[in-house]
């Protein structure tokens, strides 16, 4: 009963949330889930979500489930091309199984 699908995860600066959601929906995904995050990567520590002030140093972790490999790849490619030159962020894909295929 379970169907193969892809999960795309994007971790990036919180101020980009709105723009990335637009990009995700435009790419053809049916939805997303976002959680506040902190972290560290090539561009330094970003920890305000847990301890500090001001959205500008917070991260957001966005995950998207889609049954279409193309949609998944499109999100990854576009996010990297459009934002990751100038903004901190990472993106990756995972395999998942969903029950209600038509929901995604």
């Amino acid at each position: 009963m379970m169907n193969k699908a892809k999960k795309v995860v994007v971790v990036t600066e919180k101020i980009l949330l709105g723009k990335i959601v637009d990009l995700i929906l435009a790419a053809g995904a049916t939805g997303y889930t976002a959680v506040l995050a902190s972290g560290q990567g090539g561009r330094g520590v970003r920890t305000d979500a847990l301890t500090g002030h001001g959205d500008i140093f917070s991260n957001i972790r966005i995950e998207v489930i889609t049954v279409s490999d193309e949609v998944a790849q499109k999100i990854i490619d576009q996010v990297i091309a459009k934002y990751f030159n100038n903004y901190s962020g990472i993106a990756y894909i995972e395999d998942v199984w969903v029950a209600r295929r038509d929901h995604f």
Partner: protein, 339 residues
């Protein structure tokens, strides 16, 4: 406007007295606590509430007094505010941006932040004037957006022209209205404008005195502790960027304040702008944005490194504006206007 020995002595005395005012002491205390590794932490919700209260209080008072006052007198100072904001950006472009190891977009973003305004520095300046019993027009704090927005817009426009040219583009036009709109929609300016409207159109006297004004000074001290902690944290970001930012952030608030004082003085001569207003305008000019400027710049100049401009403004600019510029322009005003 002679800066003789007496003035200097007076400056040091005022300066030392200011170190004993709670506003500054709380800022330095926050910095010291962070420097000593303290886990002292003002929750983000409290910090944002303090900012809201501060700007509502400033807005409501402005609105209530404008209701009775002469709004025409605001024209020249408002014009001058815009000139100051833009001059600061141009100055940064002529100085900081030319220095070795400083990227043009980082420099313009930094200059934009120093041209913009810090509501808490302005509030600290208002207190100091009230404590000294020096009058200023109630609409002076409402000059804030007139300086803030032109500075941010100019910095973003110049940076985008530069980047577009660098990338071989023909320097296409940058849409200005979205930047203005984003500034006005930010939490700080929104709160001040909401306060202004409420002060202008309703009768909020009871709640103003019994709540917004009552808690104002106390919440400012809480804000100062937070800003001190934040200043220390951001200071460490500056280690990663060119040292010129520290020099710029240390010296320029004084220069900007002097420009503000000078233009304010002209408004004093031409349009009867009050001495207190001149001093406050200088402080507003000396201040650099901590709250609302950074997100606008992060979106408007995405290639600029936020460590450079936020480090400069929050880590150095604001402490210098509060600790040095506020007493400096007070004593300068007292000397110039014989207060």
């Amino acid at each position: 406007m002679a800066l003789n020995m007496d003035v200097l002595l007076g400056f040091f005395h005022t300066f030392l007295t200011q170190f004993q005012t709670p506003t500054l002491a709380f800022l330095l205390g926050g910095m010291l606590a962070a420097a000593l590794g303290s886990k002292l932490d003002i929750p983000d919700a409290i910090y944002r509430f303090c900012v809201f209260m501060l700007l509502m209080r400033i807005g409501i008072q402005g609105g209530m007094e404008i209701r009775e006052g002469d709004i025409g007198a605001m024209l020249l100072p408002a014009l001058f505010s815009a000139v100051i904001g833009m001059t600061i950006v141009v100055l940064g472009w002529l100085t900081l941006a030319r220095l070795r190891g400083v990227r043009m977009d980082d420099a313009l973003a930094t200059a934009g932040l120093f041209g913009a305004v810090s509501a808490s520095t302005m509030a600290a300046g208002m207190f100091m004037l009230e404590d000294e019993g020096i009058f200023f027009e109630a609409w002076v704090p409402a000059l804030y957006p007139f300086m803030d927005i032109p500075a941010l817009v100019l910095a973003i426009v110049l940076a985008n022209l530069y980047l577009s040219k660098k990338n071989g583009g023909s320097g296409q036009r940058v849409a200005i209205w979205p930047i203005v709109k984003e500034s006005l929609q930010g939490p700080a300016l929104s709160a001040m404008l909401l306060g202004l409207a409420i002060g202008l159109f309703t009768r909020p006297e009871v709640v103003f005195e019994g709540f917004y004004d009552l808690l104002f000074r106390g919440l400012l001290t809480v804000l100062m502790v937070t800003m001190g902690i934040e200043a220390w944290q951001r200071l460490s970001e500056l280690r990663k960027v060119a040292h010129w930012y520290i020099a710029y952030a240390f010296v320029m608030p004084i220069v900007h304040g002097l420009i503000g004082f000078g233009l304010g003085y002209i408004a004093h001569l031409l349009a009867g702008f009050s001495p207190g207003g001149v001093i406050l305008l200088a402080i507003i000019a000396a201040s650099s944005s901590d709250i609302s400027g950074p997100p606008t710049l992060r979106a408007g100049i995405p290639t600029a490194n936020p460590s450079s401009y936020i480090g400069s403004s929050t880590g150095v600019g604001t402490p210098v504006a509060i600790a040095i510029c506020i007493p400096l322009f007070l004593i300068l005003g007292q000397a110039v206007f014989d207060l």
